[in-house]
Every structure is written in C-alpha cells, then in structure tokens.
C-alpha cells in the first residue's frame, strides 16, 4: 500500500531535494515500520526526525493523518493505506 511522507522544506535536502517521499508498505504497518523503510532510502532524513534511540525528537511532530503520533500509539501508530504522514517542526523558538 502506498504511504506519502510529507516534509518541511528544511528536510528536503535530506530526501534528494523532495518534499514528499512515497513508500510502499505492507498492510498493517506502523509509523515505526514506515520510518524504518525511509531510513533505508534516506538515512540522514530519519536522523533529523529521530534520535539514536529511535525516539522522535522533542521539537518534531509527526502526524499520521490528522493525529499527532504522540497522542496515538507513538511508533506503533497504525498507518492506513494511502495515508499522508506529515513531519513538522513544532511551534517553538525565539
């Protein structure tokens, strides 16, 4: 099943200059499965999203559809067919 990962412009250089990455996943896959697949293709990209322990970085939000993954099941959040998974930097700074 195809899943689309949408990226902010800041991460496009780590995805070959693209702001979208389409990944073929098996039915029943999770967000963790998706990021593992992306890691094979774009290791630097996933390093920006997750730290070495595999946790999503503190000021990064990953939405599966309309839901932020931390409010769901984290890396175990199911990713449905044709889902759009959006990576955004959280609103922070100064």
């Amino acid at each position: 099943m195809p899943v689309t990962l949408q990226l902010p412009q800041a991460l496009a250089p780590d995805a070959g200059g693209n702001r979208t990455v389409v990944i073929e996943l098996e039915q029943g896959s999770s967000l963790g499965d998706l990021l593992q697949q992306v890691r094979h293709r774009h290791p630097a990209l996933v390093r920006r999203i997750c730290d070495e322990t595999g946790e999503i970085r503190r000021f990064v939000n990953v939405y599966v559809g309309d839901a932020e993954s931390r409010t769901m099941q984290g890396m175990r959040t199911p990713v449905p067919s044709d889902a759009v998974v959006m990576v955004v930097g959280s609103v922070a700074g100064g």
């Binding site: 070495e52 970085r57 930097g89 700074g93």
Partner: protein, 354 residues
C-alpha cells in the same frame, strides 16, 4: 588570520588583521554552533572547518567544510552517533579539539558526558568506551549548561586531560582508558564536602606551553594551578578582581603565561562592566589587567569555547566572543584588541587559524 565564529543562531568567519576585518555572510543559519575548529590538512593550505551544530528541531550534527564554509559535508549516518547498546543520544557537541600529536586526529566533547575520537579529520567519530563506562558516571551531574565533556587537552606524551561539568578533571595515561579523577585541592562551594575526589564544576583548563605538567583551571569558584599534571591543585586567585569566569588560555609558546576573563557570578557581567583579560607571567603568582581597546561598559559574559589563542609568527594571537554578539581580536599577546564583529547573535565558539 582566520576566525571561525559560532553563535546561537548561525556561523560566520572573519579574515583580516587589526586594521581591517572582513566578516562573512552567515555561512549557516537556524542552528546554534557551540563548537568550531580549524583542522590542519596535510598537503593543503586551507584548513578544514569542523563545526558542532544543533538545530532545535532536527538535532545535533558535526559538519565539515574544506572551502571556508562555502560547501559542507556530513556522512549519511551522521558523524557522531551513540551506539545502540548505550541507549543514549547526542544532545550537543560542546568542543572540537584537533590533536597536534597525530595528523587527522580530532577529539569531540559531547553532551551527555562523553569523549569521541576521529581519525579522519573530523568526518566521523567513535565513542570512547572507557569514559562512557566509567564507574563515576552515575554521580556526574549536569552543570548549568548541561552534562558534557567540554575541555580536551592532549598531552605531548600519549596522555590526555579532560574536564567536564560537573565531574571535574580526569586524566588518562594513553588518551583511551584508565580515566582517573584529578581534582585534589580544587574546592567546591556547592556540596557538603569542600574537597571531593570528583564532581567539581570546572569551567576550563589549559596546559602550559613548555611544561605539560603545569595546568591552569578556571573553576566555578576559583582559579587553580597544577604542577603535576592535575594530580593536585593550588589556588591562584589572589590578585584577580574575582574568582569566577569561564575562560583560561595558556600562552602557545611561553611558559608560565596565561590569561583569564573574570566574570561576576552575581550578574554574569565583567566586574564593574569592564571587559578585560587578566594576565599572569608567573604561573598565577601575580596578575595584571590587559586588553586596551576592550569596552568599559560591557554587560555580557564570555563562555569557555568562545576564546582561543594561537602562535602567530612568534606572537600570541587571541580572539574571543561575547554573549552579546561582539568578537574581539589581538595580535600582540592580548595587550590591545580590535573589534572584529558586533551585533551578531550570542557568541558560543571562536577559533583562530593562521
């Protein structure tokens, strides 16, 4: 001379001399650069610029540039990453130190408390397992800025001395293993034991140019000197306008000469707002003010990695940056300074290259 300037919000370089400084456009933006280093490259005139960056969103990284910051490289897997079995993640690169003993060798001090070694001029780094697995680790505490190895001093022999907040000074006979605390005589004022074996909040250490057993330490409270490679220390604060600060620099060629930048800990400003270096020519027995040309009404600190000294044609060249975005440089052993840059973001790291 070249000066690399890492700030809270970007990276710059400057070139020139006391009569004219040319500051670059921002080379990198939207990240802090807590550490910068010029790494000599065998057979190439232009040194490699190695920087420790941290994006608040996208995490820390070590980047390298071989063309003065025009283009940058980083391995796909990252230059510095904790092995999976440690369960740790890199938070910040606090210092990057080229090793003068081995061409291509570079060290990094990282948060959480860890020491890393590169043998490819800063492209990739490997964790020092002996320090990571040190039995004292559970008792090392974070300083105000975080738990990190922040100072790395390779000795002319195979040894090394490092400093961390708050763990204190540790030494290794071979720069790899057998790390032992080296804090005897360094007093602390934030715990029940004034002279613990370790746990001191050391801010910076520096090694004498001629005698590697003579070390200087700017601590959270007090300036200290060791004559035996860190095994014991004695205070050398008398004669300074205060005992607090973050910077200590040792002269690159002359023995017994060092500088500190006193800061009032109650304000984090220089005493009475007078931004000055204080210099000793006798290993801390006496001190005198230095730094003509530095401002008298200056209300910001100078932090540990934001000051550097090198030998420039037989003379000590010094540059340092301030947390209110100014950079000053001296090419006459710190006697007079000119302004290199101003109105930058707060300066976290400064390194000079000839």
């Amino acid at each position: 001379m070249r000066i690399a300037i890492g700030t809270r919000k970007g990276l710059w370089t400057a070139q020139g001399g006391p009569d004219h400084w040319q500051i670059s456009q921002p080379l990198r933006q939207m990240a802090e650069f807590a550490s910068v280093a010029w790494v000599p490259m065998t057979g190439i005139d232009t040194p490699r610029l190695v920087v420790g960056a941290r994006s608040w969103f996208w995490g820390p990284s070590i980047l390298t540039s071989d063309d003065d910051g025009r283009t940058w490289s980083e391995p796909e897997q990252g230059a510095v990453a904790f092995p999976e079995d440690t369960g740790a993640s890199v938070e910040r690169i606090w210092t990057i130190t080229p090793d003068p003993r081995v061409p291509g060798r570079v060290w990094a001090g990282v948060e959480p408390h860890s020491l890393w070694r590169s043998d490819d001029s800063g492209s990739t780094f490997e964790l020092n397992r002996a320090l990571w697995n040190h039995p004292h680790r559970a008792e090392w505490q974070p300083g105000a800025g975080g738990p990190a190895v922040h100072t790395i001093v390779p000795r002319p022999d195979e040894g090394m001395v490092i400093a961390m907040s708050t763990g204190g000074v540790y030494r290794s006979p071979d720069s790899q293993a057998d790390w032992s605390p080296a804090n005897s005589g360094i007093k602390v004022d934030f715990g029940p034991d004034p002279y613990p074996a370790f746990g001191q909040c050391v801010h910076r250490i520096a090694m004498d140019a001629v005698d590697p057993d003579r070390l200087y330490a700017q601590n959270h409270g007090g300036v200290f000197r060791s004559e035996n490679g860190g095994r014991s220390w004695e205070p050398i604060t008398a004669g300074l306008p205060g005992d607090f600060g973050f910077v200590v620099l040792a002269h690159p060629t002359r023995t017994r000469v060092a500088w500190v930048v006193p800061i009032d800990p109650s304000t984090m400003f220089p005493p009475e707002g007078r931004l000055r270096l204080w210099r000793t020519d006798d290993a801390g027995q006496t001190w005198r003010e230095a730094g003509r040309g530095l401002p008298d009404e200056h209300y910001a600190s100078v932090i540990r990695d934001a000051a550097h000294v090198i030998d420039l044609d037989g003379t000590a060249a010094i540059a340092f940056g301030t947390r209110n975005g100014s950079v000053y440089a001296s090419v006459d052993e710190g006697e007079t300074f000119s302004e290199v840059a101003t109105r930058l973001p707060d300066v976290l790291s400064v390194r000079i290259s000839a």
